[in-house]
Structures are given as structure tokens and as C-alpha cells.
Amino acid sequence: MQDVLRDLYQEVILDHGKHPRNHRHPPAANRSARGYNPLCGDQVTVYLETDADGHISDVAFEGRGCAISIASASMMTEVLRGKTETEAQQLFDDFHRLCTEGGFTTEQAGTEDREALERLQVLAGVREFPVRVKCATLAWHAMTSALAGGDETTTE
């Protein structure tokens, strides 16, 4: 098996793909948005619960898709809890660069949460597969549009 494929489909990714974490619809979610990849029909809905001072207190998702998009959504839900909108957006910017820029290292990141970015590093294999970058970022795009949409997207 080729190394680029092993890099892309690492054990961690396959595990999250098969057993996604936080794959549920939290009843207290106050924001949500659907991410849709028209190329392959994949779709995920990201649910957020934000508290009074703007922190993400719960994050979950539902949906179907390829191993990359589901693993990425699952891992996203694990690193976002407790973050403010700005921090979440910053982490996404760094993650996006991780998935697209060859020379990008966690040292160059803007986020304070290096540990989170290091966990997301396993998804950096998509760099070698440009058409799959959309899969890796699908849930993240949905997350940012849920944040941007505010209350309007509360009940899907």
C-alpha cells in the first residue's frame, strides 16, 4: 500500500470515520448549519450550544459522508468545546492552512491551542489529494456558518 494513502487514511482517521464522536443532535443547541458538498452529495449538520459569554459549551454533528469528512467533523467536535467564536475561527484558519499549505507547521499557527492543532495534524494528509480538502473542511465551514448565522439557524 502506498505511503500517501497510509498517510491519508491513518488509524485515527479510520477510527473516527467508523465511530464518530458527538454524532448526535443536542437538544439545547442554539445554532446549527448544514454543510453540503455537491460534488459527492456528502452532508453534515453541525450543532452548537453557546453560553451567555459566547463560549461554545457543546458541539455535535449529524450526517453522512466519506471517511475524511466524517473523521474531520468528529475531531472538530472534540477540539472546539470551551472556545469563543474568535478562537474557533482562528483554529479553523490554522487547520485550513494545515490542509492546503505544504510548508505550514504548528509553530506558524495563530491559535493558542497548539495541542488541538497537533491532534488535527493527522488530517494534513489531504494536502496530497487536493479534491479531498473540501471533505476535510466541510464540517468546519458548517461550523463557521452556524456561528455567523446566529439565532436564525437555531432550529435548522
Binding site: 500500500m1 494513502l5 479510520l14
Partner: protein
């Protein structure tokens, strides 16, 4: 025979072209098949999406550009006149290819999508609110969206014929759907996802009995077997050049002369007029009425070369070869644990949609790409069908005249690797 239904002309007894079919020699005609992908020989199993081009097509187009190019229907000089003759000659080639009664029934379009849109406008606009157009669950978006646009324009009713479990059309349901208000049945001859071959002759017979016309989307059908529009009694028949080993940006609409004559233009401009003044413009007769502007001249010449190429090999021989591939691939893929084939209709063209248990088609596509195997994954521009099947996507291997059983083996081994990787 993959397409030996009532929809396609039977192969003449005593035809021995099958014996002459030498796939290894034919592969030599397709320069791209020598390419490697990630160091592996290219195994191209996506001809249903677009087929590769033989040397004859490539040469016909580049020779024209190097030695004889000019505009058509305009110049009073040598190159323009000789090229106009060649351009119109391809119309005759297409007419023979479909067995149309006259070359005046052949309209050049950009692709099958544009051909269907042409009918949806020029014929569709004559319909009234409440008139019915029937399509099916297995249509490509190209044969759904133009009718939805027509529905939004004038309020026709769009009805959808369901498919059976095996991916064949529910002919009984279709027959029940025809009413005196049915004006048009727009239906694919062969499903691009399931491979199902629809019993077109019977479908058309029933429509005509109910007083409705039939438009056939032949994009996948002309590739796999002989089509005879007069035998079918089709009112409109459309196909696209790039799936038929020809270039992109050239499609064909066949329409019965009596219908085309009555239809107003689709697009307006040069070439489609008889005379123009600010007070009144009169239109050319069909087919030129429907060919506004400078046509895809080089592509028409390329299409002519493609049709000559497949005709020389012989429909029967190609159909027999592909039927063999379909049978072998079906058997070989079914041996893979956890693999499901979607579409098992009795009459089937060389198209296999499938899934692997627990593995998304997108991941399959990425992994076997690294083995040099090109297949299509996704919804195949047939999202409503995917919904009917309850699937977000499928993987699809589609075969052309240049594919071999050895390539099926490469596909099967690559799929085993996918399973290995996913544990």
C-alpha cells in the same frame, strides 16, 4: 448482447465482425491508453462519463485546423465551400448512423443537454398549463431540469415513472400514467447509473397510442449498440459526441421533419435566418433554423470521424465485446465480500454501479486512483435517483470498446486493497 432488446436492431445472423474484434489492436488507436498514472498503467473505466479519443478523431480535427479551416455557410472561397460540404456531409453520416429518413432531421447542438433544452423550448413552449410531461426516476439532471424550468414557465405537470427493485423501469406504472393530457414522454434509453436498457420501442408505442410524443435521451445508448430512430419511431432522439469517442461541445438532436418544421427557433442569430429586417425576420428551414451562430465546425468534423470509426469496427462487434466485459466484471466483482451492485436489470449496458459495505464511494475512488484505476464516484448527475436508491453516492465502472478483462482484474484487486486499508 448487452443491448439486444426490441430497442435496438438485432445483429444480422452470419455477422462475423465479433471474430475480427481485436481489443489489443484497437487499444493502439487510443494514444492516451499508453499513459501512466502514479507509475501505474492507466485503467480507464469512466467512459460513461466521457470516452477517450482514437487517433482518427484527433487527426481529423488537427488536420482540418492545419490544412483546411474556414468558416462555413458564408465564404465564396475555396476553403469555406469545401468545408461547408464536409460539415454538411457529417449531417448525412449522422443520419445514416441513426437511420434517420433525411439529413434535414439532424440538428447539431453543443451536447445532449442543449438538445433537450432545445426541445423544452421550441416544442415545450407550445404546451399549455396542465399538459403533462412524463420523465422517470432514472433520468440524468439533463433530462429533469429543463422540464422543471418548463413547468415553472408555463405550469405543465411533471410526472415521474418509478423504477423496480432491479433498476428496470416500471412499465406497468408508466402505462397507467399516460392520459389524454400527456403531451411528451422524455426518457433515457439507457440509465447512466444503473445501466438498465429501457424497452424503448414499447414505451414509444404506448405513448403514441395515448397521443403523446417521445424524446429519447440516447447519451448512453448510441455508444453501446445500434440505434434506429425509424424502427423505434422516436419523435426526438438526442446524443452527445464526447461519449461516442468524439470531441466535446458537439451533440445531436434528431427530430422528425414534420415536428421540426412546425417548431419555432431556440436561439436567434446568424445562420438560422432566411432574411432579417427590423420590421420582420424570417427563419431558415430545419435543421439550420436551430443552429444559430457559427457552429462547432471542428467538433462536427471530429464527430464524423468518430462515427466512421465505430461504424468501421461494427456495432455488433462492440456490443458483443462489451457484453462480455459486463458479464465478466459482474461475476468478478460479486466475488468481493461486502460488495453490492446497484442495477441488475436483465437488459443492461456495460455500466456497473456498486458500493463496498462501510466504505464511502469517495474513499474508494481516491484509493484505487493510486492504482491507476479511473472510475466515477458520486451521484452521477442523478441525485433524485440516488434518493430513490437511498444512497448518497455510488462508485461506477463503465466500459468502452477498449477495455479488457485484465483491466477488470486490476479493478477487482484495487478494491481488495481498499478493503485491506479500511480493515
Amino acid at each position: 448482447m448487452a443491448l439486444a432488446t426490441d430497442t435496438l436492431t438485432e445483429i444480422g445472423a452470419g455477422s462475423n465482425s465479433t471474430l475480427a474484434f481485436d481489443v489489443e489492436r484497437l487499444r493502439e488507436d487510443f494514444p492516451i491508453l499508453k499513459q501512466q498514472v502514479y507509475g501505474k498503467p492507466l485503467v480507464y473505466l469512466d467512459s460513461g462519463s466521457s470516452s477517450q479519443k482514437p487517433r482518427a478523431v484527433i487527426d481529423a480535427m488537427s488536420e482540418l485546423l492545419e490544412t483546411g479551416y474556414a468558416n462555413v455557410h458564408r465564404g465564396a472561397y475555396y476553403f469555406s465551400q469545401t468545408l461547408t460540404d464536409r460539415y454538411e456531409g457529417v449531417r448525412k453520416t449522422v443520419a445514416r448512423f441513426l437511420n434517420a429518413a433525411s439529413d434535414q432531421e439532424i440538428v447539431f447542438t453543443r451536447n445532449v443537454t442543449e438538445a433537450i433544452n432545445l426541445v423544452a423550448h421550441s416544442f415545450g413552449n407550445s404546451l399549455a398549463a396542465g399538459d403533462e410531461v412524463i420523465i422517470t426516476e432514472m433520468e440524468h439532471h439533463a433530462n429533469i431540469v429543463p422540464w422543471q424550468l418548463l413547468r415553472d414557465r408555463i405550469g405543465i405537470t411533471l410526472k415521474v415513472v418509478p423504477i423496480a427493485e432491479d433498476g428496470s423501469l416500471r412499465l406497468d406504472a408508466y402505462a397507467d400514467m399516460l392520459t389524454p393530457r400527456t403531451r411528451l414522454v422524455a426518457i433515457t434509453h439507457v440509465s447512466n447509473v444503473l445501466g438498465s436498457v429501457n424497452p424503448m420501442k414499447e414505451i414509444i408505442r404506448l405513448a403514441h397510442k395515448a397521443g403523446a410524443l417521445v424524446l429519447v435521451d440516447g447519451a448512453q445508448a448510441v455508444v453501446h449498440g445500434k440505434v434506429d430512430v425509424q424502427d423505434l419511431d422516436a419523435d426526438f432522439y438526442a446524443f452527445t459526441g464526447h461519449k461516442l469517442y468524439g470531441p466535446t461541445a458537439i451533440g445531436v438532436l434528431y427530430g422528425k421533419a414534420s415536428l421540426l418544421t412546425e417548431m419555432p427557433p431556440f436561439l436567434g442569430g446568424g445562420d438560422m435566418i432566411r432574411s432579417v429586417s427590423f420590421s420582420e425576420t424570417t427563419y431558415a428551414d430545419p435543421p439550420h433554423r436551430f443552429e444559430a451562430g457559427t457552429p462547432p465546425i471542428v467538433e462536427v468534423i471530429g464527430l464524423g470521424a468518430a462515427i466512421d470509426y465505430v461504424t468501421a469496427i461494427g456495432h455488433d462487434a462492440i456490443a458483443a465485446h462489451e457484453a462480455g466485459l459486463l458479464a465478466y466484471a459482474t461475476e468478478r466483482l460479486q466475488q468481493i465480500d461486502g460488495l453490492t451492485i446497484y442495477g441488475t436489470a436483465k437488459e443492461k449496458a456495460a455500466i456497473i454501479s456498486f458500493g463496498l459495505e462501510g466504505i464511502h464511494p469517495h474513499d474508494i475512488g481516491t484509493i484505487i486512483d493510486r492504482e491507476g484505476v479511473a472510475i466515477r464516484v458520486g451521484h452521477h448527475c442523478a441525485q433524485p435517483l440516488m434518493e430513490c436508491l437511498g444512497l448518497p453516492a455510488t462508485a461506477r465502472a463503465s466500459f468502452g470498446l477498449y477495455n479488457t478483462p485484465a483491466e477488470v482484474d486490476v479493478l477487482a484487486r484495487a478494491l481488495e486493497k481498499v478493503k485491506e486499508l479500511f480493515g
